[in-house]
Symmetry: C2
Subunit: 225 residues, 2 copies
DNA sequence: TCAAAAGTGTTAGAGGTACACCCATGG
DNA sequence: CCATGGGTGTACCTCTAACACTTTTGA
């Protein structure tokens, strides 16, 4: 008997809104099954495109967003995960910076919206599983690879980084120890620029130095929180 | 245009032969393409079986081996990775214990053989990529999860564990510090049994206590080398 | 001048790393 | 009795974790 299995790609796209909260991009489904329900963006792979190309294409079509970081997460293949037919889904997770985030939030054309990861609507298919796995992965990954910077503006005050980590990890962090540790890696450039956000002393801006990171990595010096 | 993509599963199965060396199970292909060349075992997924079921089935059919540990690795989907048509492969890696290992080595029925990971033949398709990724993953994973025990007999002398780690990590380890650290987790039961292997003082046997491991894990105590 | 956020050092304790000799057995 | 692999303790040093006050600005 001929194999009859469809292949789709789906992406859990994270954004960081320095309220602080971590958000996920969801779309409202236009067609059955699960019509009118929320789902993570994605769709079927075309015959001659790569999986990465497919996910970029779908995200552009459905949400207009462009990710700053993308990584394969897991492949979900349970035989009954789609009520129509056998569909396996190669899931990815993506990270976007706040400026992109803002644009995405305005793109109502396709009915895409950001949701706080602690306040999600019910999701179509097995998308809650996918989302849970993505959250676990991001949480674990920010402790040993510097992917957190992909959720911040290119130039950011140190407190944004602090808040991102303590929000994602779900626990308070010691500001002094955290700053000491991060700066000791020498992967951040301190800029001669300050930013003031309402009350309080203005903060110095920092920039993640990717070249320096790769150099240090090749010397065996690892990022780790 | 209708989607026409095939889905296969492939598994990189590791065994540990306390020579010491780490081996991978390969099969010699019977049919084109790449007829007569070595490849990692795998095959097409049936319409109504799960991906895990598919990989277990294929491994039984092709090599007669039963894995002690299996984990999804990555999904390879480049449009040209199979010369016949579009095929995406969900890759897994598996670990087997030496007793299973021995049986597998004898199962010549399907022309399956073990190869030292440092002395491999050229591989069909993109299987070298898959293998590289699997090796990287296993190497990284044994440092933060106790999967190494799935490569040893249920009861093993401590030196087997030492040799496994130093072989996989590709560097010498300090015997005293390693033993101190591993035993400090309290995940190993020391048995009242010794084993003698040729010359030298007989070694005490140990056993990995899985229940204790999960208990400690739930208390937040993590395995880490 | 007050509220709010940024910036900054020290100390005690835990954990990691380096290191060498004796023990038990088989041949 | 000798070759081979098994088993063990200590000291230094680095890294982590705990902890509170001063500075700079906007309102």
């Amino acid at each position: 008997m001929e194999q009859d299995i469809k292949v789709s790609v789906d992406a859990v796209v994270f954004g960081y809104d320095p309220e602080p909260k971590v958000s996920v991009l969801l779309i409202k489904r236009k067609f059955a099954p699960y019509q009118g329900e929320w789902a993570i963006p994605g769709g079927f792979v075309k015959n001659h495109e790569s999986l990465e190309h497919a996910i970029y294409r779908e995200l552009t079509e459905e949400t207009g967003i462009i990710m700053d970081y993308l990584e394969q997460l897991y492949t979900f293949g349970h035989p009954n995960r789609d009520p129509r037919s056998r569909v396996i889904s190669v899931a990815y997770f993506g990270l976007v910076r706040p400026d992109t985030y803002k644009i995405g939030a305005a793109t109502d054309a396709e009915k895409a919206e950001w949701f706080d990861i602690n306040d999600l609507p019910p999701l179509a298919f097995d998308h809650q599983n996918i989302l849970n796995k993505a959250i676990d992965r991001v949480r674990a990954k920010i402790t040993y690879e510097p992917i957190g910077f992909e959720l911040l503006d290119e130039r950011f005050p140190f407190s944004d980084l602090e808040n991102l980590y303590s929000t994602l990890l779900g626990r308070p962090i010691d500001r002094r120890n955290f700053r000491k540790k991060i700066l000791s890696f020498g992967m951040l450039d301190e800029l001669d620029e300050k930013v003031s956000r309402g009350a309080g002393r203005p903060a110095n801006l920092f920039k993640f130095n990717k070249e320096r990171y790769f150099q240090l990595k090749s010397e065996g010096i690892l990022f780790e929180i």
